[in-house]
Every structure is written in structure tokens, then in C-alpha cells.
Symmetry: C2
Subunit: 583 residues, 2 copies
């Protein structure tokens, strides 16, 4: 439930205007406060016909969409009713300028929210676009705590494209085992991999085949006739144009999204306008959002399949199916065709081509700084740490501290205890570029683990080159969607093979690079990004695949910690933050 | 791993003796400190052949036994590695005199321990006997976090009975679903009951029949040939006498324990010596401990069954089986007989008879105060609160606050916020005795819920009469084992039907009542206990059936809060305790 309030000051406006508006009516000023009150709990649900525990928000899965206007303040009062399990909620794509403590990243910006406690997130949505929210605690995201944030352009402004209706769909993959089961497996030696998801959900609905399970004691555990798992139907009026906001919060899967017989024009990516281009297949990675324009211009006498299919990994999961329903056909009427199965899963070329096609839209280009102050090259490898299978960056597998970095770095009273909180040695900014062969499995798979961080000089420009490589097993390299908290970055380039620090930067797109917060690193390739370290706080940068981050695939940046305001008490309660309690 | 330290002062000894001993050797004084370091985590285990997540301590299930001598200090450093789930550990039967913050009762004496955090429990085991420890957070106990505490008599002293060997066994019941699954069911409307356990474990081993499950995708989930689930064998030498410490930490079940063909002499209950009596069947309720003497005096050429069977509820769980193994027979050699199935589950008479038979041992009688200062009658009923099924005491269903009572009551800075922390209205001390018919289901099942508490005047004597009644459904009344934290109480009497406050107290046993910390309330009966409110702190009193307490079957006592020492910071971190953090 959202209610609108009023903000009494509009920083962008001259004082006389503000005063005038306050006098006129405090409820017509531009920037509002949007209040949400969320009850987060486990419930039995059957999103793909198989009954299991799902995290819901106010009884909903996916969670309610947060809608706001650019410049609004969003207040979300989260009450944790997860029985014995903590939580934290990340507002994915929201930069949290001035509110680094509201980023919702457990271990980085806050202690977890304990069952029974209520945590208030308050932040400004400072740029129109399509964003996400999801649990950021262990692998809890895969239990279902997710949803969308839709920020509209300020009143009186409009997007550089037109459409008749605005619709959105959330794409996820779905497991029948719990995140706890998965995590214990990943942390075991021998390693137990989570495996392929049981189904792909479109807007929280999937189609698992119940014949695959038979539990004598629980005949009702899977029931294909439940209305709850009938396919999601997106109803369209013939001839109309739809802005479709497509988001992925898969736990593992890279996806192809396709609407049978319809082209899609890509116009937005991660909150930034894209120079339009047309696709039949939209590739989307966990943590990304796109807006596409779709015209309902096909034979209106029938419905069409809208499908998701796994790419980049050999699929072990059936096609996700929704119905693109032409009004007035019945939404539950299956199309007469076979659901589309998408392009070949192991053909990475069209995926690389899409990455390269995404440029900032003419008229909305934010030109990047011409040079950077620091270059960090991050080699992505799969490794062993004390016999346990991990991911590592430059041979360091990331672990979270028990006291959040933000508190450890900001609170002077904990400073002299810093060595307890996290490793003071910064992780390496590069790898043995000359000698490392990214195309074969490493001869020595051993890595170390650390919770050390990268500290950026405030207001400098940082280049990151993500370098992919072969995994532990031969002839295998995966796609990793990397997500940066607290910033958007310019996507300067993608390449195949080993990044050449002397020649490849010359090919960077400094003219019209798109800004994003999540970017794919393609198999055996590299991705180069640039960002300004201008947001005081501590920010995670990590692979958005749940299991990969849990296995150490991430790093942390600090910048301008001395400019961070007084930390709120509600982010504390764990680790050494208890030392701040005065007896 | 336990290591012994030294305590430099022995309060019981004259100063010159202490000085002498310090000079002689600081490591030969009587009272020691026993250090334990525990890693608490989830692991896949198959205690009854069915593989599921189990909470282990240092890889062990049941957890390691804490052994100490009367007067020792026990220090347990608990590191929570439960991924996303908190914990708290209660030291069941230890009164925590002077250390009420170490009782391990989440919501009452501490905030939960967050994953990654380490909590140090430190307390004195001030009386020899057999005690327990277990998780005290939600229904987490049923995930397996449990073990025994064995406190021996001081050196030079001995028990009033002799035996050749000291052995112990933990009895539990075992579910295949998670505590989370159970809790969500209990909190649902319509209500989903946890059902009967899948097996009964003896010392962590049970015998579930794998033919009852068939999961095509996981053929290995149940495997009866795993050595992990072969029956526990207690090996005995013919002719020798064994002190068998028997403990129950079942989640739901009241049990009968029997060793085929052997009598047992009961000599200890909940840490107090019992006037010896002989049983063939020992009835034991969750939270109780007994010591029995068993002589290996049967035909030594074969083994014998040691079995547990469910009583008081219609059994839906197979007999728990262990092997009473006569040396040198092989421990895995099954006895030639059929495992014993115990007495009729619904015959409560032998169970009442055992309750009445337990008296304090001659020479070890602690005479109770002749009168009490306050009498509280607690009617136990099943009710509905806003349509949800609950248990209630005097029509109030108990809920825990998010800020622990101990902090809320002790910390002056939170006093003016008390109304936020818990309900200031004390719950009723009685019910409509005259008009209430305990033998039929209530006409109005509605109850209220509250986290209000009973505040006892320090050093007064309190009588509690537990009154059982019919449940919501007709012709049903269950056995409830009630457990008091922070105290032992005298068991003054048991009776059938409705307690008569005028006549029944005349029949109280004030001569040689046993002291206990857990006592059964039999179906349609009453149980009267007396205790001294002489332990400063806040103490839970509750039904020890996991699901019943989760459904509101408990109350809380406060006494002498002004005498409680400065609270340690480590119990804080949740709810309003964050207000104690000074910016």
C-alpha cells in the first residue's frame, strides 16, 4: 500500500517558488514522499504448480511495484516476519546519493534486519527509469523477495518515444529446494552445485511438469490445475503500442525473451535511454532492466507465446511461457503454435552483438571523462580455497565481514578495532597478465579468501576491466552479469579473448557509451567500464548470479567515507557495532 | 573441545585455605572453568536414513556433552554459522544465579545471535546432576541443536547410590520437514498442524522406513544401508551396574523408555536425588532428565532391545530402537525378539502413578516453605485468536516481544519506552473457576494475545497450579510438560479433574516433594508446584512442546530486576536495544 505525502523543500527550485507553492498547497509541489509498509514473510505458494515456501511482501509474489516520480522520496517500512531468518533489501539501480546506509546490502551497508524488527529505508529516486528491489542477504533472493521500482519522468516532461500503455514483467528462474539447502551444498566439500532451476517464471508464474515428482505422502505437493500457476497473460489491444518494462532477477540463468511474431524496439536499459534498435530476441541477464516498444500489429484473432529460454548454460529447464493475449480473445486461450525455444544456448555471438548495439540515445548522451585516474583489471576465475570450490577475482575469493564496512569505516570508535572488522590489505588491482592463459584451466587452482576492499580517492575516475577466463573444468567459461551498487557506469567496450591494456583502450567508445548498473561479461571475453567515484559510501560490485556471489565473486569499493553523514542506529546491531552501546 | 582453567577464588573455603591453595598450585583448586568453542551450522545428515538439513555443533549431532564438576564455571563460545538464521542456546536446568543474561532465551534474556557473530555464554553449574542444552529460538530446537550437560558431584563427595559405569542417552523425535515449514503451517489460517514425527531417535539414530518415500529425482534421499542410521548400541559388561542418564528433548512426543527384560531403578530426576523406585517402563516428557540404575543381569549370550514409544498421543511414529548390547556380542547383532512396543498410549494411569512415585530422597530433602505468598492458577486451553489456532493460559495466548524483557526492564534509558516493548497489563492470575467446565470444549474459543508478564515480589514464595482442560475438539486433553527457567520448584501434587483451591492444597506433599524444573500436566488433571522467587532476572515458564510454545503456551516471571548486575552488550542488537547506541 502506498500513500503519497509531500516534501516541503524542493532543492531544485528557487526559494520564492518553494514558498509560493507551500502557500498555494503543500500537496501540489513536485517532489513527494511515497510511503510503503511491507510485511515480509514466508507463505506456501505454488508459482509453478509445485507447493513450497516463498517469501512474500504483503502476501504478494512478486512483490508490489514501487511507483514514484523522479525526485520523490521513497520510504519503505520493512517488518521482518521470516520467523528465524534475517533479511535486508537492496534497491537495485538506485544510487543512494547521500543515503549510503539505505543501500540494503547486508555486511556492506547494514546489519541484517532481525525477525520482529522493522527497518525503515528512505531514499530519493533521482532519475526516471526501471529499477528493481530484492533481498540482499545470503542467497535469500531466490526465495522470492523481489519486485520492480518504476520511476516516471517529472510531470511536464516526456520520454523521447511514444507508447499507448506501460506494462512490466519480472523474469526469474525457480528452484524447489531452499536457499539454505543450496548454500549448505555450495559450502560443502565435496561441493554440491545448485543445479539447473526447475522452472522459469514470467511475472511469478511457471509451468513445472508435475509428473516429474511423486511423493506418496504428499499427493498435493504438485498440482497442475492450480489457477495460481496458469500462465501469465499480457493483454493487448490490437494496433496499440506497449512499453514493456522487462526485468530479470534470475538466480542463475541468462535468458532470451521473445514474443512470438513480434519485434521489440529497445529504448531503455537500466534507467538510461537507448538509441533505438530492433530485436526479435532480447537477451537479458540477472540484474538488468530494459524497456522495449512492442506494437500489437499481428493477426488479432489469436494469442501468441511470450517465452523465456535459458542461454549461455546448457538448458536443463523448460521454456518459460506466458501468453501475449490479443483482446478480446480469452487470456487463457493457448496460442495454436508451439512455444518458441529461442536461439542456440551456446551461440554467444548474438548476445555479444546485442551488448555492442546498446548505445546512449542521441540527445541524452552523458559524455564520460576522457581519461581515468585508475585502472583495475579483474580476472574472473573459478578456484579452490582450502579444498572448497570458490570464485575468485585476481585469485582472491571475497567474503563478507560480520560488521558492515560502512559502520567499521565511519565510526571512529571502531577505528582502532578495524583489524578485527576486515582485512586491511587491499586486494590486487591486476593479475599476471603476461603469463596467464585465459583459455585453459589454471594449473594451480588454489586461491585465498579475503574481505579486503578497494579504496578510491573521492571524485576520481575509475576504469574496471572485467576479464573472463576458463573455469576449473576445461572448455568452459560462463557469462557473469556484474552489478555495481551506488553508481551507474559507462560501458566502454567488450572484446573477445584477453584484454590488451595497450591497444584495447584505444577502441573504447567515448562518444555515446550507454550508462548501466549491470553489465554482462561474456565467455572468454572482457568488458570495460568507467565510473566516477563521486558517491560517498561503501559499494559492492559483484556477479549477480546468487551462487557465484555466495562463492566469492565480488569486490567492494569505498569512496569519500569522510563525507558520509551520521549513520542511523537502525543499520547496527551485529558484530562489533554492539561496542557502540554505552552501558 | 573442552579445556580446563583455574578459578582463583573458592567462595566456600576459608581465606587461609584459599591462600594456601593458591600458593601450592593454582591448578588444584576445586572450581575450574571449562571452555567450549562451538561452530553451529547446518549440514546434511541422515539420522534416520532420510537425508535432510540438521543443525550440528562442531559437526556433531546430538551436540557434544558438556562435562563439569559442581561449582565449575562453564564458558561456551558459540559461533553462528547458520547462513541466514539466528540462534540462541538455553542451558536447561541451570539456574543462572547471578547471570540471568546467560539463560539463552531469545526475546526474554537476549537478542538472537546473528549469523557470523560469536556469543559467549558464561555461567556456573552450581549443582551436580543431569541437564540439557538446546536452541531456544522459534522452533529451531527440532532442527537438532541439542545435547547434555553432566555435572558431577565435587571431588571427595559421592552420590547416595553406586554403579560401575556412567552412560547417557538423548531421546528425541524427528521430522523430515523443516522447523520453518512447521512454523508457517502453525501460523496459517486454515491451521496446518505439524503432524506426528517420522521417527524417534535414540542418541541421534532412528529407523525410518525408506519405502515410505519415493522421489524420482533424488533416489539417494533415503537409504537404509547408511551406517549413520544403524541403531545406537549401548554396550554393557555382564554383571555390571550402569547409571543411565536418560534425557528427552522431543519436539512433540511424550515417551515410554524400556530396556527389554531389565528393570530400572530411578535415582535422579532433573538434577535431584529420588527416593529409589523400580520401573519397567520409564515415562519421560520433553525437557526432563532421569538417572536410572540398570544391572546387566540377563542372559549375556544375546542382545536386548532398548525402545522408545509415543504415549499420550495416538502414535503415528514407529518404535525407536536401540540395542542393549551384552559384551562380547557384536553391537550390531539384532536381538532375537520383536522390539517392545510399550504400554497403551492412551492409558494415563501408569504415567500419573510414576509422577506420584517421584519423591525427594531421604537425607536429601529440601523442605519447601510451609505456605506461599501468592497463588497463580493457570488454565491451559486451546483457543482461536483472530481465527488462528493458539494455546492460551487463562485465555491469554503468549507472544514474545522484539526487545528482550531483561533489557527492557533493566535499562533505565528504555524505561520510558516500556509501553513499546511489552504490554504493561499483567496477565490474569486465575480463571472463572466456578463456572468453567474443564471436561468439555469451550463454548467461546476466542482468546486474546499478549506479551504481558507476572512480576513477583523478590524473595516471596509462589504457588502455581497448572490446570488442564479439554481442547477445541471434544474428548481430547493432552499432556503438557511445563518447564521453568531460572529455578527448581517443589512438586506439591497432582490430581485428576478440576483443582479445588479450598481442599486440594490440604493434600500437598510438604514432607518430601521432589524438586524439578520440568513437570507434566496430565490430561484433564492439575499439577501444583511451589518456588521461591529468589533469582533476580526474567524467567520463562512454558510448555516444552515446540509447537505448543510457538502457539502461545507460556508465561514470563520477573523478580528482583533491581538486583540484576550490569547487562553485557552481547545480549543486545535487536528491537529497541539499538536506542542504547550513542551516536
Amino acid at each position: 500500500m502506498a500513500t503519497d505525502g509531500c516534501r516541503r523543500t524542493g532543492l531544485k527550485w528557487p526559494l520564492y517558488y518553494v514558498l509560493f507553492m507551500i502557500i498555494l498547497s503543500t500537496c501540489t509541489v513536485e517532489a513527494k514522499t511515497r510511503y510503503y509498509k511491507w510485511d515480509v514473510k514466508y507463505e506456501f505458494k505454488s508459482p509453478d504448480c509445485y507447493k513450497k515456501l516463498v517469501i512474500t511482501i504483503n502476501g504478494m509474489f512478486p512483490g508490489p511495484t514501487i511507483t514514484a516520480e523522479e525526485g520523490d522520496t521513497v520510504v519503505v517500512e520493512v517488518t521482518n516476519n521470516l520467523v528465524t531468518e534475517n533479511t535486508a533489501i537492496h534497491w537495485h539501480g538506485i544510487r543512494q546519493i547521500g543515503t549510503p546506509w539505505a543501500d540494503g546490502t547486508e555486511g556492506v551497508t547494514q546489519c541484517p534486519i532481525i525477525p520482529g524488527d522493522t527497518f525503515v529505508y528512505k531514499f530519493v529516486v533521482d532519475r526516471a527509469g526501471t529499477y528493481l528491489y530484492h533481498a540482499h542477504y545470503g542467497m535469500q533472493r531466490e526465495e522470492g523477495l523481489n519486485g520492480m521500482i518504476i520511476v516516471s519522468v517529472p510531470k511536464g516532461q516526456s520520454e523521447p518515444f511514444t507508447y499507448d500503455f506501460d506494462r512490466s514483467i519480472m523474469l526469474t528462474d525457480w528452484y524447489h529446494k531452499s536457499a539454505l539447502d543450496h548454500t549448505v551444498g555450495l559450502n560443502s566439500n565435496p561441493f554440491v552445485w545448485v543445479g539447473e532451476p526447475q522452472s522459469l517464471l514470467i511475472q511469478g508464474r511457471g509451468n513445472f511438469s508435475c509428473s516429474a515428482v511423486s511423493i506418496a505422502s504428499e499427493p498435493d505437493v504438485c498440482n497442475a490445475t492450480r489457477p495460481e500457476c496458469s500462465p501469465f497473460a499480457l493483454t493487448v489491444v490490437p494496433g496499440k503500442t506497449y512499453r514493456l518494462r522487462i526485468a530479470s532477477l534470475t538466480s542463475l540463468s541468462a535468458l532470451n525473451f521473445e514474443i512470438e511474431g513480434h519485434n521489440m524496439t529497445v529504448v531503455e536499459a537500466d534507467g538510461h535511454f537507448v538509441e533505438p534498435f530492433v530485436v526479435k530476441n532480447l537477451f537479458i541477464y540477472s540484474g538488468e532492466t530494459y524497456s522495449v516498444l512492442v506494437k500489437a500489429n499481428q493477426d488479432p484473432s489469436r494469442n501468441y507465446w511470450a517465452t523465456t529460454n535459458v542461454v549461455s548454460r546448457k538448458p536443463g529447464t523448460p521454456t518459460g511461457q506466458a501468453i501475449f493475449n490479443y483482446y478480446p480473445n480469452r487470456p487463457e486461450q493457448n496460442p495454436p503454435t508451439t512455444p518458441t525455444t529461442g536461439p542456440m544456448w551456446n551461440d554467444s555471438e548474438p548476445r555479444r552483438a546485442q551488448s555492442l548495439a546498446i548505445k546512449a540515445r542521441e540527445g541524452f548522451i552523458q559524455t564520460p571523462p576522457a581519461t581515468s585516474d585508475k585502472v583495475i583489471i579483474l580476472l574472473n576465475t573459478q578456484n579452490k580455497v582450502n579444498g572448497y570450490t570458490k570464485w575468485a577475482i585476481n585469485n582472491v575469493s571475497f567474503t563478507l565481514p560480520t560488521t558492515p564496512y560502512l559502520v567499521a569505516l565511519k565510526e571512529n570508535r571502531l577505528r582502532n578495532k578495524l583489524h578485527h572488522v576486515f582485512d586491511q590489505t587491499p586486494p590486487p588491482t591486476g593479475y599476471d597478465w603476461l603469463n596467464y592463459d585465459i583459455n585453459v584451466n589454471q594449473t594451480n587452482v588454489n586461491a585465498t579468501s579475503s574481505n579486503g576492499i578497494y579504496r578510491n580517492k573521492f571524485n576520481t575516475t575509475i576504469d574496471i576491466v572485467l576479464q573472463n577466463a576458463n573455469m576449473i573444468n576445461p572448455n568452459n567459461s560462463e557469462t557473469h552479469p556484474w552489478h555495481l551498487h551506488g553508481h551507474d557506469f559507462w560501458v566502454l567496450g567488450y572484446g573477445n579473448g584477453k584484454f590488451d591494456p595497450f591497444n584495447d583502450p584505444k577502441k573504447y567508445n567515448l562518444v555515446n557509451p550507454i550508462m548501466k548498473n549491470t553489465v554482462p561479461l561474456h565467455p572468454y571475453g572482457w568488458t570495460a567500464i568507467r565510473f566516477r567515484a563521486d558517491n560517498p559510501g561503501v559499494w559492492l560490485f559483484h556477479c549477480h548470479i546468487d551462487a557465484h556471489f555466495a562463492m566469492g565473486m565480488g569486490i567492494v569499493f569505498e569512496e569519500g567515507i569522510e563525507r558520509v553523514g551520521q549513520l542511523p542506529n537502525n543499520i547496527m546491531g551485529c558484530g562489533l557495532t554492539k561496542r557502540l552501546i554505552t552501558p
